[in-house]
């Protein structure tokens, strides 16, 4: 089992390095390598979940050096949960992208950068070393800058430049926080650092480092004060890339890294809880208020991403076991239905050539599968009972009430209603109603794209079942256990490690 952990990063890297050598002219090489790697990673991540039943934490020391000296890869509940989310969405997005890329040139470059992004995200999720977290975060970020500007059109380049500037500022603040932490604790291993910080009561330095990390990871997760880049970057990226960006990139680079640093290294305090809840509510409100007035399909989805991340941060910020479970459950659900919505918008854009809702109409007649999956995803994001979004939003609201944050629960309900209104508008203008004349000969997406859509839609419908006790103890509870245990749990991985 042990050798599988580094393969999560080595396999996509080897695939990405292979492409410029072999994949230049040959289309089937880049498609085959990319699909094979992502599907095997997806299966591997499910397999790693089963491994968690044997022992809660698997610490793999790279190069055989004992933890505080070398870099150790830590596979615990939280990282296995994130691995499943990242690689599941990545596999379906690659399946979708195979035929979507027919309209683009430079196919091997897309697959190469895509594999690098997946390798970076797997690296962030698996690492147990703070500087290594920064390096793998940079891999995913630099690969995504290139992918946002993939279409080399005017607005995409401008959006990519702004995204690169804000991403670099975020990385600089993370690096600053890291320098101060290294100077104070003189170690980079998260577990060792957690143990050192627990032993010492340090006043203002911990606050400053916390501020740098919230600024840096907040920029990556597009929390409200730093969300300016997202509404430009996500819509102008090609559809599979905006699905990956909104679906998993802002979560694994932003939300996961923030949780890992705050809960497992610095320790969770009521003050931090208040900050996170405030940021969560702010993101929810501003995201949805800006989204309601939008007429560009993908821009509307991008604003909704900001508001849904607000839900996750609110859930996690409560700190109670129910809050953590609800936040992580919503993180998984949001990755599924948000990437499905962006993939649908890609089909609509390629079929009709426009993203403006006012110029669309009655697409259900010509695009039945896309219409059906968009309906499922819209119901899920709006929180309609049978779908997975409903369960996680309900749990976030219940957790807020249980933790006596009544205002938070109230705003969560208001935002959910506004989201429902915004998505009924999308359905009414784009899919229902009569088909305008010029959309007469619009044809449905190819089979591979439709299978990807249907797979994600099925998860949306059946996702609520994950909250059943036996499934929950298998998927969500280990992750909540890691966050709940905090620095003490993390320090335990210093003792049990392999070779």
């Amino acid at each position: 089992m042990w050798h599988v952990i580094p393969l999560f990063i080595a396999l996509p890297l080897a695939g990405a390095f292979l492409l410029p050598v072999l994949g230049r002219g040959r289309r089937w090489v880049s498609d085959g390598v990319s699909l094979a790697v992502t599907v095997s990673l997806c299966l591997g991540s499910f397999w790693s979940l089963t491994k968690l039943q044997e022992s809660a934490v698997w610490v793999y020391t790279v190069g055989g050096w004992k933890p505080p000296f070398g870099i150790s890869l830590v596979l615990d509940g939280l990282s296995a949960f994130m691995l499943v989310t990242v690689n599941l969405v990545a596999a379906t997005v690659v399946l979708y992208a195979l035929r979507y890329l027919d309209a683009f040139t430079g196919r091997w470059q897309f697959h190469c950068l895509f594999l690098l992004m997946v390798a970076g995200m797997n690296g962030v999720v698996l690492t147990g070393d703070l500087f290594n977290l920064f390096v793998t975060l940079e891999i995913a970020a630099v690969a995504s800058y290139g992918l946002v500007a993939f279409g080399t059109e005017r607005h995409e380049l401008e959006a990519a430049f702004k995204y690169a500037v804000m991403g670099s500022i975020g990385s600089l603040f993370i690096l600053l926080g890291l320098v101060l932490l290294y100077s104070y604790t003189s170690t980079l291993n998260m577990a060792d650092m957690a143990a050192y910080l627990q032993a010492r009561e340090s006043g203002s330095l911990k606050g400053i480092v916390l501020g740098f990390f919230i600024l840096g990871f907040g920029l990556k997760a597009a929390l409200v004060p730093f969300h300016a880049w997202l509404p430009d970057a996500h819509p102008s990226a090609p559809a599979p890339i905006s699905a990956m960006l909104s679906g998993v990139l802002i979560k694994s680079l932003g939300v996961y890294a923030l949780c890992r640093v705050i809960f497992c290294v610095l320790g969770f305090t009521p003050a931090i809880s208040e900050i996170l809840i405030g940021l969560g509510i702010l993101s929810m409100l501003i995201g949805v208020v800006l989204a309601v007035g939008q007429w560009d399909f993908k821009r509307l989805l991008a604003y909704h991403s900001i508001s849904q991340v607000g839900y996750i941060i609110l859930g996690v910020g409560l700190g109670t076991p129910l809050g953590l479970a609800a936040g992580l459950f919503h993180l998984f659900n949001h990755s599924i239905f948000k990437s499905l919505l962006f993939l649908d918008s890609g089909v609509v854009e390629q079929a009709t050539g426009t993203r403006d809702l006012r110029r669309l109409g009655g697409l259900n007649h010509r695009l039945p599968v896309t219409g059906g999956t968009t309906l499922a995803a819209s119901m899920a994001i709006a929180g309609i009972p049978p779908f997975n979004g409903f369960w996680s939003k309900l749990l976030v609201i219940l957790a807020a009430i249980q933790a006596e944050h009544y205002w938070a629960a109230f705003w969560a309900v208001v935002v959910s209603v506004l989201t429902l209104a915004s998505f009924t508008k999308v359905l009414k203008y784009a899919f229902l109603g009569d088909l305008p004349e010029r959309l007469r000969n619009v044809h449905e997406a190819p089979v591979s794209m439709r299978t990807a859509l249907v797979v994600l839609a099925l998860i949306c419908v059946v996702g609520g079942v994950l909250w059943l006790p036996e499934l929950r103890s298998w998927f969500l509870d280990p992750a909540v256990g890691v966050l709940g245990a905090g620095p003490a749990g993390m320090a335990e991985s210093l003792v049990r490690y392999w070779p």
Partner: protein, 183 residues
């Protein structure tokens, strides 16, 4: 003491680089900041870092000069709004004042607490056989970092090739400024 003087020189160089109107002289000013930084690294007993900073600075200035040379730049003074400078200054002041108590808790300059690094110094040669301890940390103790970092450079190179390719979407006329098609 020498380090402080060079630091102030770098700050002045950076301010000049940002405020001067002609782009080319701005790039040259940033080049001086980088070279003085390389000097500072030498003074701080970090030869590896100094030579890397020098080489990286040279190639950055080459690329930046290419971006600003022979281009018809509008001569309109690109003064940023004075209110922008004021808000920037007060934000910086608040940021720095909040920072001072935290910096006091750090170990004093010149006496780092070497918990993990002491084993690198003591057993570095024995464990890895490399005399240059920075290379032993870089390529043996933390080799995985270097793999990640080489991948970042690889991703940037592929990103540059992607952004500069002639035609992003099939069917669209060759977008402006494209040099040679690449498929």
């Amino acid at each position: 003491m020498m380090v402080d003087v060079l630091l102030i020189l770098m700050i002045v160089g950076a301010i000049i680089a940002l405020e001067v109107k002609n782009l080319l002289s701005a790039v040259v000013a940033v080049g001086t900041v980088g070279l003085v930084l390389s000097l500072v690294f030498l003074l701080l007993q970090a030869p590896d870092v100094a030579i890397t900073q020098l080489a990286v600075e040279i190639i950055t200035v080459i690329l930046l000069i290419r971006a600003t040379l022979r281009l018809e730049l509008p001569q309109s003074p690109l003064i940023s709004r004075p209110v922008g400078i004021l808000t920037g200054l007060c934000f910086a002041a608040v940021f720095l004042i909040l920072l001072v108590p935290g910096l006091k808790e750090l170990p004093a300059f010149g006496s780092p607490t070497l918990r993990v690094a002491q084993t690198y110094l003591d057993q570095g040669l024995a464990d890895t056989g490399a005399a240059n301890l920075v290379a032993s940390v870089l390529l043996d103790y933390r080799a995985y970092d270097t793999l990640g970092e080489a991948t970042v450079l690889f991703a940037a190179v592929i990103g540059v090739l992607t952004v500069l390719r002639a035609q992003g979407r099939k069917g669209k006329q060759v977008s402006k400024g494209a040099e040679h098609g690449e498929e």
